[in-house]
Symmetry: D2
Subunit: 332 residues, 4 copies
């Protein structure tokens, strides 16, 4: 059994605790949160030790790996301590909002970066993964255009936005990683943004909608369409278009039931409301990959470099938004 | 140009007049109806001669063919007169409600039966036809089960029901023909019926819903589900299931537009409301087949024998309904 | 925690063991199988005690409930012993192939029948359940026609067929129960059958395809279409048609991915192959219902009477098949 | 009857001749082409006068309107002559490749511009039109994002590309008009392009794929994804996303037939291959609008100003492509 600790008992920490709980070869040893109540609730729910002292996780030699699910500003420090303590790390995205800090962290941990996995869960979504596998196998021929549509159901609270790093580093970062998953190296970013959803977001100097175009090193174009609000739930779609055809992943429905009546037909239920429902299988597959990497001693993927590269693209998108010009990217 | 006369200027006569009008090699020469106003309206609308004397159609040597779209009791007489006058005939279903009269007609016209086409328009629906072609080509392997769902949007008026010959001879007759289109000879009929839609229909001694099971000579089972009422429009679907797979024809939508909103997703518009909309391409393809048969001197299909066979199945279904037992059929 | 024992460590026993394993309030205490290897394998896999002596299950006072997943001929005896030992029972379908034995069992256990749940898992399928709930809520108005299509991917081995009790009692029994789930009391059965799939099945005197029509006490017609072979996987669909509209449950796909290429478009992957994949959520919801019934002391549903009623319909279908006539049913 | 002349008997001229032919209140009086054989073929096919002298069209006072379907460089001259001759004009897109010439033409014809309709046929597609109507009616709330995917099945011949004006003025111009149909005034254009399809196109200095982002005066973002090649046919889709939901138009299939077999399910046939099939109903509705405008004396729409505005956007896209920067647009 791989024994894991979870640091951070908020919404996403609980998701990981659950994935560990149902994994046949993983065991949730201990959860941590600076708030006693949060730690106790999650610890109790999953039958794990719990506490407010992070050293009890870091210093426990029986714990093989740590999931860093705490607020973003704490990621670098916790990640660094954990790998130094000999543990594998699954770190939630982003590693940090500041590329300088990310690079400093990378310099500090050196080869231990290979023990770090970054939580780009969507790579493990069965539909997206299936498309990636089939693109790699040549089913659509050379990939020419990738279309990502990614909309959140409701905008986050103003307080969250204030420290989020902005749309590109907070939300689009998942889509940047998805683009890299298909395109490999990205060399060019062109971003447009809009304020249509929330006055609070505008007041905070952030945008709430965007269309971003990326160019891969091999010429493939990828477009990402984002919105902070989507009336019909969590809109998560992808199309991979190539010389021989196209693979698409549509939104997913909780059942296969449809209604036809006097004034409308084939009506489906609402889509999954948000990532907790939509990506449950992805989070579990992500955890399985992490556990397996620990067992086999291999470097998990997506890794530290992928976390950094997505941030580079987010920064480039911000620069493009500011200058109104395409930005050339190196090292993504 | 093939010159045609249309006898009967009701709803279905107008459909045929329209199909002739848009056909590049056909010309609507004359329309007839015992009601002066009806004949004039259709004649004027399509730029054809019109009148109330049927001899002006039968006796016009420039007219190559006649569409019999008058009330059912007149079909046999008009069909007989027309073929004797040297004309090809497209006769609306059913030839007659009484099998004895159909057989007498057949005896009387002899080999001229080859000049008669019966208006089972659904054989010409592009979707059903495509499935038939692919089944014949072996795409699903030996055909094992055929599922037909056929529901009308609203029940007919009581006055219509009274003279309709009952559900099986009036409505299901199209489905019996469709079953024969796929199964060839049918050897067994098992029928169940229900009264759920209309008290008037029940009072007239008829049923308004049914499930009928047919067995083909080669063992294939076909089921037909009927209702006289369908809240969501004209429900016309078919599935051909065989050893290697299945071909299905779904209901058709006027546009490809779908709506997703807060409490429902992928909402389509209502289906086509009834046969005039749903089967317009089928009526036109039917007319094209008829015109081409006249041009080439070949016997059109479905022919007189198909019209008779569907009636045999309707009579067998009525017997099965009365006796509660499966009825063996000969000669369908 | 509700502590359960599983008797029978074959395919379906393992499914139930898994459902218990992932249930937060249930614990798999012990598994039994007359074959030592089978019991050990399942017991080890789920961390439960295991053995070949059924008394170790029946006699263990710490075990609250027993899942009877052994061969059909043993069901009545094991079920009887278990309820007498004070345990709740989840008995796989059918209770027995012989209605006389079922009735004798019922007489013997008396009021303890309320402690028996019968394993009609499809009632717990999220899609079918959603339709049932919405039909009950009046969304389609009075239910007029129910269409069930239920096809297995591949025919069972000849040895299985020989002791299966025939298509209706072995396979259709699930569909009979589904019909009762929607129609309530069924008063009439009309069955047709066919041999198209397997010479071995024919040689065993059984059919391998069927269309059965049921009539509910309130007049609703239900049709069931069965086949022992389906090239495209496990075909499990249902339509509930009423005066105000229709609710349909389509087959389910493992991902939302579709391919479009030069000669075909919107190609989906194969459906779930068989019940283990298709009905995993149903089996888990079934177990949750059973566990909750034990916790609350309520009678689980579907119960003993439902198991009996489905068998009555299967027997009626066999009689209809033999006589070629509709069979009136009492007490279903 | 409205009497029309068609100038240019190539592929698109023939489409318009056909639309006139089937229109109940329009008559194809005369067709013109500098090539005698082309004029004769189309004239004969539709029973119209034909010739190689354009004055026989312009000078015929019985002709109410002219369809300009000749090569682009002749549009301005023919359009000008026709309106001066008192005729209404349906001019194929683009009016001209050179905005200066378009503006000079506009200055020259003055108020007669109101008699000019520009052939943006897609505005008349029943699906796109339905979405537009429903967006205007507020069904999705304020429009926030418009997603247009528009791919041609195969790249045009090199000779065509050489004089086409480039991707944006030749192909994307339809999508620019579609964006304006939904957004109204467009104020900003950001374009990216790619060469993935054809070496000949690259050699001609043109691109063969693109993603363009437009911003409307009210802030709505529109993205257009283009390719000169699409393996699965003519890819023509649109999504209108707003605060309350989304309306989508999917690709259209010739029948509703789907196949399910051993290794794939729900397989549809190829989409319509190209605009002649896909947009037949649109071309007919376009002609109906034009004929009705003539009958009622109203200005047809889209008009001259719409033709100019789409060209302005194409020019802006070319500038954005060249500079790598967003281009501000005035007067679109």
């Amino acid at each position: 059994m791989v024994r894991l600790g979870v640091i951070g008992c908020g919404r996403i920490g609980r998701v990981h605790a659950d994935s560990i709980d149902v994994h046949p070869r993983a065991e949730l040893a201990r959860v941590h949160d600076p708030f006693d109540a949060a730690a106790r609730e999650v610890g109790t729910a999953f039958g794990a030790e719990w506490g407010t002292d992070v050293d009890s996780v870091m210093g426990d030699p029986s714990i093989d790996a740590v999931v860093v699910a705490s607020p973003t500003p704490t990621h670098v420090d916790l990640l660094t301590r954990a790998v130094r303590a000999g543990k594998a790390v699954l770190c939630e995205k982003p590693i940090d909002l500041d590329l300088t800090r990310v690079d400093a962290c990378r310099a500090e941990i050196g080869a231990l970066a290979d023990r770090v996995m970054v939580g780009f869960n969507r790579r493990f979504d069965p539909s997206f993964r299936d498309i990636r596998t089939r693109v790699e196998a040549g089913e659509v021929g050379p990939l020419e255009q990738l279309t990502i549509i990614s909309r959140d159901p409701v905008p986050p609270p103003a307080a969250y936005v204030a420290t989020s790093g902005g749309l590109f580093r907070d939300m689009t970062i998942h889509d940047f990683d998805m683009a890299r998953y298909f395109l490999g190296e990205v060399v060019e970013v062109t971003a447009t943004g809009a304020n249509q959803v929330s006055d609070e977001i505008a007041a905070a100097g952030d945008i709430d909608g965007a269309v971003i175009v990326l160019r891969g090193a091999n010429g493939t174009l990828a477009s990402i369409t984002n919105s902070r609000r989507c009336a019909f739930g969590y809109d998560q779609r992808l199309e991979a278009f190539g010389a021989l055809g196209m693979l698409t992943a549509a939104n997913q429905l909780p059942t296969s039931v449809r209604f036809s009546g006097a004034d409308r037909t084939e009506v489906a239920a609402p889509y999954h409301n948000f990532f907790l429902d939509r990506y449950t299988p992805a989070y579990r597959a992500e955890m399985d990959h992490f556990v397996t990497a620990i067992e086999t001693g291999s470097a998990p993927s997506p890794g530290f470099a992928d976390g950094r590269a997505a941030l580079v693209l987010a920064d480039a998108a911000n620069e493009s938004l500011r200058t109104g010009a395409t930005v050339q990217v190196v090292g993504s």
